[in-house]
Symmetry: D2
Amino acid sequence: MSEYILKIDSSDEKGLIYNIADVIYRNDLNIEKNHEFVDLENRKFFFRAKILGDIDITLLKDELKNVLPSDANIYLGVRRAKNIILMATKESHCLGDILLKNYSNELFATVQAVISNHDYLKDLTKKFDIPYFFVSAENIDRADHERKIRDILEEFNPDLIVLAKYMRILSSDFVSRYRNSIINIHHSFLPAFIGANPYKQAHQRGVKIIGATAHFVTDNLDEGPIISQDVIHIDHEYGWRDMQKAGRNVEKAVLSNALDLALEDRIFIYGNKTVIF
Amino acid sequence: MSEYILKIDSSDEKGLIYNIADVIYRNDLNIEKNHEFVDLENRKFFFRAKILGDIDITLLKDELKNVLPSDANIYLGVRRAKNIILMATKESHCLGDILLKNYSNELFATVQAVISNHDYLKDLTKKFDIPYFFVSAENIDRADHERKIRDILEEFNPDLIVLAKYMRILSSDFVSRYRNSIINIHHSFLPAFIGANPYKQAHQRGVKIIGATAHFVTDNLDEGPIISQDVIHIDHEYGWRDMQKAGRNVEKAVLSNALDLALEDRIFIYGNKTVIF
Amino acid sequence: MSEYILKIDSSDEKGLIYNIADVIYRNDLNIEKNHEFVDLENRKFFFRAKILGDIDITLLKDELKNVLPSDANIYLGVRRAKNIILMATKESHCLGDILLKNYSNELFATVQAVISNHDYLKDLTKKFDIPYFFVSAENIDRADHERKIRDILEEFNPDLIVLAKYMRILSSDFVSRYRNSIINIHHSFLPAFIGANPYKQAHQRGVKIIGATAHFVTDNLDEGPIISQDVIHIDHEYGWRDMQKAGRNVEKAVLSNALDLALEDRIFIYGNKTVIF
Amino acid sequence: MSEYILKIDSSDEKGLIYNIADVIYRNDLNIEKNHEFVDLENRKFFFRAKILGDIDITLLKDELKNVLPSDANIYLGVRRAKNIILMATKESHCLGDILLKNYSNELFATVQAVISNHDYLKDLTKKFDIPYFFVSAENIDRADHERKIRDILEEFNPDLIVLAKYMRILSSDFVSRYRNSIINIHHSFLPAFIGANPYKQAHQRGVKIIGATAHFVTDNLDEGPIISQDVIHIDHEYGWRDMQKAGRNVEKAVLSNALDLALEDRIFIYGNKTVIF
């Protein structure tokens, strides 16, 4: 018996739960975990279940399609460790944290490679026997730089790309190729302090809390669907470098949390928001 | 069309969701909100739904009974404001907070009366035109004192009793009469600092965080099922009175949160724990 | 023996602590509590002490002036309960919380009066025997409206004005008359969601945390020096009204915290920031 | 010019600040950062300053001794990176986090070696070119085991020993040799869930928050002076293994925070408490 993840979103209508449960029941499958949510305002239905049993994926999806609204998105797949690619620039804390979890089998994933626009993190990555691709952005235009990165991505074909403090903005074209598959950690409590140097911005504004936000990457800088956020309290004794240092623990924890949610297929992207079970 | 709350807990078995959804579907009812949880370790199933429609409660419960395990507990009732009695001693912050919310229609409840073993809070209660019962515990044994309180409770027959800083321990006999219906706020992060003067205990132990816990009252002091908890950070500059003062905001917020959950029938009591949807 | 609060800020130079301690020591006074902070980047010095003894304020200030940089601001006064005026519009939770604390002697202050542009909160205010001034903004221009409010403020001459959910923007002219004396609670984690309807903005953006910010009021809307901030976690089940409801507990707690800091003269305003001891 | 750290604790008396500032001023030194605290209840005085200048440590300590109470403890030393030894058992998250920070120069310390009662973490430690000492506790009595560990410690003579999830209880004798120099991370919000398997205990108790506590190690298990604590919210869906997994991020962050405080000499141990500047 295998574990499967079933995710459905569709317009809401009467009897959806009944219809889904009916299909699962008739196929003699067991629901181990089950969450629904209806956005009443927008009449949108979300459903996720972990199912145990022997499933013919195509047949079951067809059965479900027959009893669901025509706009239903149905994802059904064996629960399995995803393949991920990490992208980073110079800071090691998020990258190192994920490499460490990967090494210690705390991550339900396989880290396939690290891609960076610098070579700073090569030594660290190599310690964990992970391939490191240094793709310099010097003396090369953006399109060419991204083409080189895409070549690597296409080779590995990852399920998920994690920007673990990758400090270059990705083009609209690049992002659209990996729609809903790129997770970024932004070192502020979004939508506060969008863009560069959020800790400097936060210091200048005199905030009493700093935070971090993990979100999917879309065309608009730091505007993508938010997955996870957290904050810590600070005071006037924190210069921006102290904020940066204290913030690293939050960044790591928030990215780690968001990554776990994505790796377990617990996230629905929905307009510019997320529904998370 | 009315709103109904349906709560079911039972041993877990295959097809429960299907069976419940089937009954609801055949009765042409609409599920507006729906949560389940299965405790896999103990094979226990929990279900709560908010249902819209015209319901014959007895008939629907019977239909559900027929398709559910024999140990199922089924609660089905119109969603309505509950009646609550507040009990307090001398401190006004939790009592005042609830009276204020009651006055401002922020509480899905009707505060029927306040019972206290002192008369300190009479003036405050009277400002809000709520009956105040001062039941002194002086020169009277515990059984007689509680009998007087029970007489008042029986007169009002509340859905819920809220101990808003009621500083006397209730007898086992009293508690068993209002099983699962008494909510207490304890001014510590349980199970730390059970019993008297938790802030003094916390100060003596030198903790860096203080907290509050809202829980159902059982025979064992501060050992009942926990509903809600929260904390705030403190430092060495806090004497125990500073902790007490800072803690009041947490106590109020935690009790208020727990009360809202209870008033919406979102809590299952389960052994010594809670499942909250 | 009385308690005094001494606050000094000045440009930083060598020996300031020595010079201040010398004056206090020679006057046979006792420092009970003492905090300093030097902003190294801007070479700014901040000092606050609680002093016990018999003090001739004018003489001691002169002595201090002689040993401090010429740009020093020296505040020296008996520690005393401040007089405060509350301004509010329709929402009762912050106002009620402060009235309750005032009534229960939990506030080191005297609430002199409530001013509102509506009459919604009159009944609540009257319960606590506090004068209520309803100054309608209907059929009257902003300048006239504010003149009426200023007349009341001049009559009471409060130490502090607390905007406890006062939902009108105050003019630059008004604000400048009460410089560093108006505290506002904004129902978001500033600088996120400046302006109107922050919960609607937060809901639309799909954030996973909501917060509140207490700050001094300056010319720029929601841009004044921040005193206190806090947040709570939310999820996709929260509509904006749920956020609003959950946010009220945070708003109350944050405003209450900021007010306590101001009432104890623990805040220095410094450019657009605060230093808080 | 060098940076020095000056720490003083003594019984409180009038003029201490003046006396200290006088000595520093007469020696033409510059105080960059300065904190004091007086425990009024116990008449205890605490002082810490970061001082810039050219200092003859012995002379300055003597000068200070002359003007301070006879029970004063005076620490004066150049601000420098401390040497630390890490002890761990099987779990890698805290150890890995510190090794990573050490590697990335985010730690104001030098990790000299890792000591473990197992060989699980050898491979990880070796990646970072840190000596690893596997001291098995199999077939050997406690005294012998600890003697072997002490031999290693004596060789390195570390400033600080960090128990990064070291799961054996240290003997009273061992602890007393490294008094105030051993920091432990306990995976609960102390004093809740002392002892073994705190996550199992927390799961059984049905708490809604889990936490971690970093503390100095004393004779009494998990009873030493607390340095840092933090918590995260959980719900009924968390089994104890989920708590354990979620708790790791908190454990890492809390230990990291406590370690930074110790490495900067910001902690006073005071009875069973800490004063932290």
